[in-house]
């Protein structure tokens, strides 16, 4: 190969490169798409996980909706208050600071704490257990099934199944609500990030029934209600709930609970 052919190759490839560059450059100008600047800015402020927690198809969809004024600026559950504030600045809207929320699983019965009616060896997906007798092998019909469907749909890896029960890492949770949708037992709900005590049981059966089924189930004894100095705990349908707005985080309910149902977060 002589010097001339090297030069020739160089010239042709170089020329092709320059041609392609110019071609793409011109194409870029001709095919320029008018993008809504507002939408771009909003999109940049959004987290970009495309989790769909807002109900729109990805962050792009929400950005378009916000820019068009069809959605509120605080629609993104993941970004929470800081993102809402940023978008509010872009859109010129005042935003009230909402509280950050996290998911909470209302069951904490570990493997040795609940009874089984039978052994189940089928598809390991909680959603499938709607088709098996009694809604799963657990005697308790309100308990976490522990197959981790919530963990598998969580886009933020915030849920782990430990010893037969799902647990939410509240620092990783962005409250997108995916787990709430898939849990067939409806155990997961959103509580404020600052909440310190929560009732980790959702069993609404009478006390003696619960006692047979689970050693850490709420029997509806109302000791927590009597001992709460701030009137924050209520028992309805033999199941206690804590009103997080009234709760002063004193911990009296947790101390008095005979079944250790109230969990400190």
């Amino acid at each position: 190969m002589d010097a001339l052919s090297v030069l020739k190759a160089l010239a042709i490839v170089g020329a092709l490169g320059i041609f392609v560059g110019i071609f793409l450059g011109i194409g870029g100008i001709i095919f320029k798409v008018e993008v809504n600047e507002l939408e771009e800015k909003v999109l940049k402020a959004l987290p970009g996980n495309n989790c769909g927690g807002c109900g729109f198809p990805g962050c792009q969809g929400l950005a378009a909706a916000i820019a068009a004024g069809k959605a509120e600026v605080d629609k993104c559950p993941v970004g929470g208050a800081p993102v809402a504030k940023k978008i509010g600045e872009i859109m010129g809207v005042e935003v009230e600071a909402g509280e950050r929320k996290v998911a909470f699983v209302a069951c904490h019965a570990h493997t040795d704490e609940f009874e089984l009616d039978y052994e189940y060896s089928g598809v390991e997906d909680c959603r499938m257990l709607g088709f098996v007798p009694n809604g799963g092998p657990k005697s308790c019909n309100f308990g976490c099934l522990g197959y981790g469907t919530c963990a598998s749909v969580c886009p933020f890896d915030a849920i782990t199944v430990e010893d037969g029960v799902a647990k939410v890492d509240k620092d990783k949770c962005r409250a997108c609500g995916k787990c709430i949708e898939v849990c067939p037992k409806h155990l997961i709900s959103l509580i404020p990030y600052s909440a310190k005590y929560a009732v980790a049981c959702s069993n609404t059966e009478k006390g003696p029934v619960v006692m047979k089924e689970c050693s850490v189930g709420c029997i509806g004894c109302s000791l927590c209600v009597k001992n709460c100095p701030h009137d924050a705990v209520k028992v309805e349908n033999f199941n206690a709930t804590i009103d997080q707005e009234k709760c002063q985080k004193c911990g009296a309910c947790k101390e008095k609970c005979p079944k250790k149902v109230i969990e400190e977060l």
């Binding site: 490839v13 092709l16 194409g27 095919f31 320029k32 997906d125």
Partner: protein, 192 residues
Amino acid sequence: MIRNLIFLALGSALINNVVLSQFLGLCPFLGVSKKIKTAVGMGTSVIFVITLSSIVTGLLYKFLLVKFDITYLKTIIFILVIAALVQFLEMFLKRFIPSLYKSLGVYLPLITTNCAVLGVALTNVSKEYDLLEGTINGLATAVGFTISIVILAGIREKMQYNDIPKPFRGMPIVLLSAGLMAIAFCGFSGLI
């Protein structure tokens, strides 16, 4: 003539399947085959790009590389042209067919560096196909890719419900399934 083209198409779509017997394009084959929906998206993009790039590289080879006697530079020039083509296609779709652009989405730029695309262009040259044959070969190869990635995605969707032994979870079982698929595809060699 038409007979030959049909045989060519069958051959490159099923018998010499681009993924299962030539081991090209394995990256998207394993990476984007978790759900049938995304697999279809990827497959459509591949069909789109490979067919177009077969035409463009065919023309380029005939009227530029052969003419100037620099066929030894085909690999680098094809890469350049295919990358530019995909980029251009993306712009074009974004402007004129936004719905298609949205559904192809991220897959288009991913294909830029896909070896299956380059592989088809180089096969067309090395087997001395003319423009029509090259285009048919490209289209059929891409259809073969789509068939196999959609099948694998279907298998993987069902596999989620199985209790797989721990050491095989994740990629190993996917590779095993792909291997079994390749063996099954061997059956097509009796077709012609």
